[in-house]
Every structure is written in structure tokens, then in C-alpha cells.
Amino acid sequence: MTRITVTVNGAREETAVEAHESLLTTLRERLGLPGSKNACEQGECGSCSVLLDDVLVCACLVLAASVDGREVRTVESLADGSALDPVQRAFVETGAVQCGFCTPGLVVATHALLRENPEPSLAEIREALSGNLCRCTGYGQIVEAVQRAAKTMYLHGLDDE
């Protein structure tokens, strides 16, 4: 086991990790953050998308031992208590959620997109979410949710209530 110190959602966490453990396992099994979903474990589905030092990555492809001293933001950091953030709210309002398994990853990927590109085109949205698989919805409402979130955030900023 290796001891690491990592800042997760703003809080400094210290934990021991196995040598071959992924960041996804650490988040879910050791830090009690099951929002990042474990599905393919090979970077194909995007369900475990997190921001590592502000860069969108699949947590399953990050070696836990290598995040010592770094900063991770997960989907759990977005809502303020029961108040959803604009992206989460847009997903609910457009019905972009069916089984919900892919939703946390899509929400995190949407944040990464809208931070860089507040007014994405349809093609840019599809491209930005191309690493996130949804097997229920057919993506139509997901794309709509991103457009809706972009509009809300553009009009009111991130802290819109």
C-alpha cells in the first residue's frame, strides 16, 4: 500500500491505496464518493469522468498512486446540498436521464465543455460528449440539456438559482 494525499472536491484527503488501484476505485471504495460510475474500466464509456487538475479524464485510467498532491473534482462537488447546479438541472428539465448511470459522467463532461466553450455548436457538443456512452436515451435530450445549460449559464452565470 502507498499513502497519498489528494484534494478531492476542495477537501484534503489522506488515504492508503494499492499499487495497481485506479483513482476510480479510490474515489468509490475508499473516499465514499460513488457518483463516478464504474462500468467499462477501459476508458470507453466515460461514466467515471472527473476533473484531474481541471482536466477532464476517465478516473479508471488514472493510477491512484500518481495523484498524490493533485486535485480531483467529481460530480459530487456540483450540487449545493439539494440545490442542483445549472447543468444537473438542465438534464432533469429536458428528461436527459433515463436509467441515470451515465448521467454523472455526462454532467462532468458538460461542465468541462461549457467552461472552455460557453456557446458550443451542435457539432461541438456531440464532439465534446463523444467519450460518454448512454445506452438508453439516444442522446437527443442529452444534447438538448447541454444547450439548455449553456443558455442558462450564459444568461445567469454559474451561480444561477
Binding site: 495497481h20 485506479s22 476508458g43 470507453e44 479524464v57 485510467l61 493510477l63 498512486a65 500518481s66 464532439e127
Partner: protein, 260 residues
């Protein structure tokens, strides 16, 4: 000792228990490996990610290849050094490095070794890199704008190439490089196709854009396909790969000949 760069290959092996290396050295935060130097010659550090290549690759074909890879998440993590280290015939940057006649820079305690890309790969996921060597960079001469990369796959994202083709026409040096991916045990350089293309540029003038005739483009495609050594596998049949290569060869020639 196992080296971990972007993790897009090695972590999959770890997650599925296919490998249990005793020691892993993560090099993704080694600043010396993350640089791109450009002064007519490009030196791209092994730690440069695909995302970075989209903006600053020192090669249009390499930027296009980086664009085809994975998804934003994968491009943010995966590196050129990792693509070289895995040495898969389907590695999307590798046909470009072949077409650019790039050099792979390896370093060990004993010193630095520079290997032409043509000698680097020896088989599927096999290379001349020794266990004590680290890939530190890829280098090539800037070849101008007449270059492209294209690939065929089941979707535009998150799909392993069924066949890929890079074409580089260095008008200043009067050189044509073509690299073929996913259609042989290593990346293939179709020598006859390159020679045929050189002849076309000799005729049309290296410094000028031109529109190749349909028959010339078709012949180039035929020569490209003839040089491939594809197999049938889960992603496609050998016949389909040859067909795709012929189409891509013709299309690539038509595209780059018009860029000067």
C-alpha cells in the same frame, strides 16, 4: 519496471488484472518530456498529449491523427510516447511518424539512441526499445502544409482504426511519405506508391498546387492497397481493408496535391 504515461493502455491491463508489474513509474508530470520545440525541425517530447497536438503538432497530419483518437477524455491523457511505447499497428500517430520519416529518441543510463521510425517497430506491439530505455521524444523535419491523415472505423470517436493512411508531400525537399496503419504487423511504407506520387509531382511541379487526374489518383490507391499486408480480424476483413486503403490513397493524393 513499467513506465506509465497517459494510462490509456496500461491502466486497462491493470484494471483487468492482465498485468501486475512490481514497480510502476508514472512519468506524466515530468516537465522535460512535455515540451514541443519547433525551428524547422520538430522535437516533440514523449509526454505531449493528443489534446496538445490538436493546437500545436508541428505537422498537420499529426494534428489530424490526434483528432481521430478516442474522445476528449482519452486525448487529455494519452501521449505520443505512449502511442510509440505500445507500438500497436493501429496506433493513429504512427503512420504519420512513418510518413514524416521521424526519429524516435530513446534514452537509458548508457546514453541516448536515435532510431529512425522505419526501424523502430518490429511487430504488433513490438519495438527495438530495450527494457532499460525510456522514449523521450519524436523528431522530424517540418514538411510544410501538404499532408493529411485519414482512417476508416465504425464511428468517429472511441473506435480503433480499421485502416489508416498518412500522406506527407514535402514540396521543398521533393519527398513523398506514405504510412499505412492497421494493415500489417507494423506500419507499412508503400514504396511503389510513393515513387508513383513523386513522378506525379515531378511532372506537375513540386512548388505548385495541382489537381491530379482521376486515373492517377486511382492508380496511387491501387499501389497503396497492393503494398498492404492486412489480415481478417474482428474489426474488418483483409479485403475490406485493401478496398479502404485504395479509396483513402486516392482521396489523400487529391487532397494534398491541391495544398501548396
Amino acid at each position: 519496471m513499467t513506465v506509465l504515461a497517459g494510462g490509456t493502455d496500461l491502466m486497462v491491463e491493470l484494471n483487468f488484472g492482465r498485468r501486475r508489474p512490481e514497480h510502476i513509474v508514472a512519468i506524466d508530470r515530468v516537465g522535460e518530456l512535455a515540451g514541443i520545440e519547433r525551428n524547422g525541425h520538430v522535437r516533440m517530447g514523449a509526454g505531449v498529449t493528443y489534446t496538445r497536438m490538436l493546437a500545436d503538432a508541428g505537422s498537420q497530419a499529426l494534428a489530424e491523427a490526434a483528432r481521430t483518437i478516442g474522445s476528449p477524455q482519452i486525448r487529455n491523457a494519452g501521449t505520443i510516447g505512449g502511442n510509440l511505447g505500445t507500438a500497436s499497428p493501429a496506433g493513429d500517430t504512427l503512420p504519420v511518424l512513418a510518413a514524416l520519416e521521424a526519429t524516435v529518441v530513446l534514452r537509458s543510463k548508457a546514453g541516448e539512441r536515435r532510431v529512425p521510425f522505419a526501424d523502430y517497430m518490429t511487430g504488433p506491439k513490438k519495438s527495438v526499445r530495450r527494457a532499460d530505455e525510456l522514449i523521450v521524444a519524436a523528431e522530424w523535419d517540418e514538411a510544410g502544409p501538404a499532408q493529411t491523415y485519414m482512417f476508416v472505423s465504425t464511428r468517429n470517436a472511441m473506435a480503433i482504426s480499421i485502416a489508416g493512411l498518412a500522406m506527407v508531400v514535402d514540396r521543398a525537399r521533393k519527398r513523398v511519405g506514405i504510412g499505412l496503419g492497421s494493415c500489417g504487423p507494423t506500419i507499412i511504407r508503400p514504396a511503389d506508391a510513393e515513387g508513383f506520387a513523386r513522378g506525379l509531382f515531378d511532372e506537375a511541379g513540386w512548388e505548385r498546387p495541382h489537381r491530379p487526374s482521376e486515373s492517377a489518383a486511382k492508380e496511387l490507391g491501387r499501389l497503396v492497397a497492393a503494398a498492404a499486408r492486412p489480415i481478417d480480424d474482428v474489426r474488418g476483413t483483409a479485403a475490406y481493408r485493401r478496398h479502404a486503403l485504395a479509396v483513402m490513397g486516392a482521396r489523400a493524393l487529391s487532397r494534398v496535391a491541391q495544398i501548396a
